[in-house]
Symmetry: C2
């Protein structure tokens, strides 16, 4: 690089130019490809690999702790895939070895049978098969939505929130720089979600956004939005001409009566909302990879064109369909046997969430979430310092990996997220250690 810069200076003098050989001239003229400026704006690494890095770094310094580490960090499923669903995956693989069962490229939007079954079993007919796009997961779907929206939209996010909404906005060039103090990006609208507002954003109190991201049950706060809250938000998005991207990846954890599992249970949502969803937490498919996005046929851009058409173009041009084996597993998930297996899995994780909740209540912390959600969001006492400090202290004292709230945006500072996806015995052991280590001296 230094060489090239030196040559650039030389180029100012035309005599110097002639002294160089043709190939040297070329490299002086073209020092390479400019880095995409949006990447320089991205703060640090993506959250979850950063957590893994800190855990690894701790274990390098304390190798004797290796067997003691318990992860309540990243929301990663740990229970084996139940028999009926597993059989769907195994048979999906086996049939590829036969002439009759072999399949190559499928529709980029997913198998028609799976699209239809999702529409029927999970949306009760409010959504039709051709409004369902099957994919390899919610995270890549959020990126594909961003590609469709393009660089000029302004987004509003819950603060704190799942980091992918903001990070992909930065990658797309929708944002300005990150402010060093507030940790907020310029041109992103942050909607504070706090215990005071039940972790539900007041969109009416912030400027209009093109895209509003809402996750319910929420990652990281564990709050599940009520019907009234969602009705208000849908109405407001309609009035303001905003598209609501509703992330329902944790919907199966909702057990409370009357709490909507889909945004399309709300009147008018077909004209304003997109729903992103995933089998990851339904059936332990975090490593298997299967998700879907619903784009209603009623959703339009300002020029009247269908949002669904542009998303279809993104899917066909930049994606090649979810794995045929995995889609066969998805079909098995939605059989009656599969749905019953999913219920049992969710019961298991919800019981974990309850144990976590009760432990922190016992310690005397304020605890949120963990009821209709697999995440428990704990308010840290001021004595523990910032949430990254608390993360480190807890790791060192108890060998329990958590996630600092600040990893989910500036609004998460002062909180800690704990995941209920660990095995039961690990949750119980972690709670024992946390209780010992965190219980106030006065208690």
């Amino acid at each position: 690089m230094k060489l090239s810069i030196a040559f650039s200076f030389l180029l100012a003098s035309s005599t110097a130019f002639h002294l160089q050989s043709p190939s040297t001239r070329a490299s002086a003229l073209y020092a390479g490809v400019e880095r995409n400026a949006n990447f320089a704006k991205l703060a640090g690494g993506y959250l979850f690999p950063e957590i893994a890095r800190r855990r690894t770094s701790y274990l390098e310094e304390n190798p004797e702790m290796k067997d003691r580490v318990i992860s309540l960090g990243i929301g990663d499923t740990t229970q084996p895939i139940p028999p009926h669903i597993l059989n769907g995956l195994v048979e999906g693989a086996k049939q590829l070895g036969t002439k009759e069962g072999y399949s190559g490229y499928g529709a980029e939007q997913g198998m028609q049978s799976l699209r239809a079954k999702i529409a029927e079993k999970l949306y009760n007919g409010i959504i039709s098969a051709d409004e369902v796009f099957v994919s390899d997961g919610a995270k890549p779907d959020i990126m594909r939505l961003q590609q469709m929206f393009g660089p000029k939209v302004v987004s509003a996010v819950q603060d704190p929130s799942y980091p992918v909404y903001v990070d992909t906005s930065v990658i797309m060039g929708q944002t300005g720089e990150q402010d060093t103090n507030s940790k907020q990006y310029d041109k992103v609208i942050y909607m504070p979600c706090t215990p005071e507002n039940g972790f539900f954003p007041d969109y009416s109190s912030v400027p209009r956004a093109d895209i509003v991201y809402l996750c319910s049950p929420n990652n990281p706060t564990g709050a599940a939005a009520t019907k009234e809250q969602l009705e208000g938000l849908v109405k407001l998005c309609k009035e303001r001409g905003s598209i609501l991207v509703f992330d329902a990846a944790y919907a199966p954890f909702i057990r409370s009566e009357g709490v909507p599992k889909s945004i399309f249970e709300i009147e008018g949502a077909r004209e304003v909302a997109i729903e992103v969803n995933s089998f990851s937490k339904y059936a332990g498919f975090t490593g298997v990879r299967l998700g879907w996005t619903v784009i209603p046929g009623d959703l339009k851009f300002k020029d009247g064109s269908l949002v669904r058409n542009d998303f279809n173009r993104i899917m066909t041009t930049t994606f090649n369909g979810a794995s045929n084996i995995v889609q066969a597993g998805g079909l098995a998930c939605l059989d009656d046997e599969g749905l019953a297996e999913i219920d049992a899995l969710i019961d298991y994780y919800l019981k974990n969430a309850n144990i976590l909740r009760e432990t922190f209540e016992k310690i005397g912390y304020d605890v949120y979430g963990g009821v209709d959600a697999p995440y428990v969001f704990v308010k840290l006492p001021a004595s523990m310092g910032g949430s990254w400090d608390a993360f480190q202290t807890i790791l060192e004292k108890t060998q329990v990996v958590t996630i600092p709230g600040a990893g989910f945006g500036p609004g998460g500072e002062g909180f800690l997220r704990l995941s209920a996806f660990a095995p039961r015995e690990a949750v119980v052991e972690a709670c024992k250690r946390l209780e010992e280590a965190l219980a106030p001296v006065s208690a």
Copy 2:
């Protein structure tokens, strides 16, 4: 929409404004989200769904032809997955049903064992494991590369070429509008590939580009670049400071001595090239979904930062890893038994290519490709009209689905691409019909 536009006009008059209710005002002020202008630039649909649409439309009009249709169109594998590789997939699924074998989120870059095996078995140690990023396929990887490059790069493509390079450039906003006559996009550099230059582009004869896309063995022309050709191109990319994106998805079809299967066989390529690759054609994984991209640690942007770091950020932030089941299948592909099975599969398809080649030679057409490649590229006689016309004529006369060369860019006009991925009996039958229908009257 009409209503909103009407209100916009009313807004010019301040008295009219006050006549509206608050919610009506809001919808008048905010008529919705602007469509991403890059989508309006995209011409027609993505090529392969368009072929499927025309085939369906033909069958709707001629339902009696349903059983006669033979697809030599999209390059979709048709042979079952061989036993050893299949076993890898089946076992990969089965182990998810056990406590010990279950796995959730994996590294977004792929299983370390698979990255290492790809580096060892396919790159002979020229590439290291941490330069290999495992993914769900070459097509989504090209989009991820584009996200990394951002909207400001200028790309050069072979003309004709696989449509994804240009379509994703348009989606990213790198291009201007498509010219109605030339069918070329503004700000894309088209490098003519013709029988005269052996379908290898002369990059020195066109303006410098940031990114140069090269596919070898080529889709659609079937040309496999020689060592000398690639050495010249790597040298030129280095001199001009261009990044070479080398699409090697058809590499296993190379059987001729001395023809490079990877760009990294060329000296200096580690400083200029990225290689995109896929198991789709290796092992019949078109529906299974597994690919990889190699970003050497020596490749840098103009500011000296590593390209690999930004790609790693894209992978971790916008992707969640290829399916664990599918990666287990990938490992089986690279065992000795798996590699032998791949060789046998490729033999089968290469024999098909040879049959297609000989048929068109017999008819008296100029034929290209089909030797180190699964595609045969046929020069159409002027009497057949444009390549979309020829596609339609052949479909109607013989019920054989092909792909018009023009679908691969303006430079493909006058050619037809035929795929060797159909079952043998279908290829033989198609050739019989093509010979009958296309043989010149004078013959």
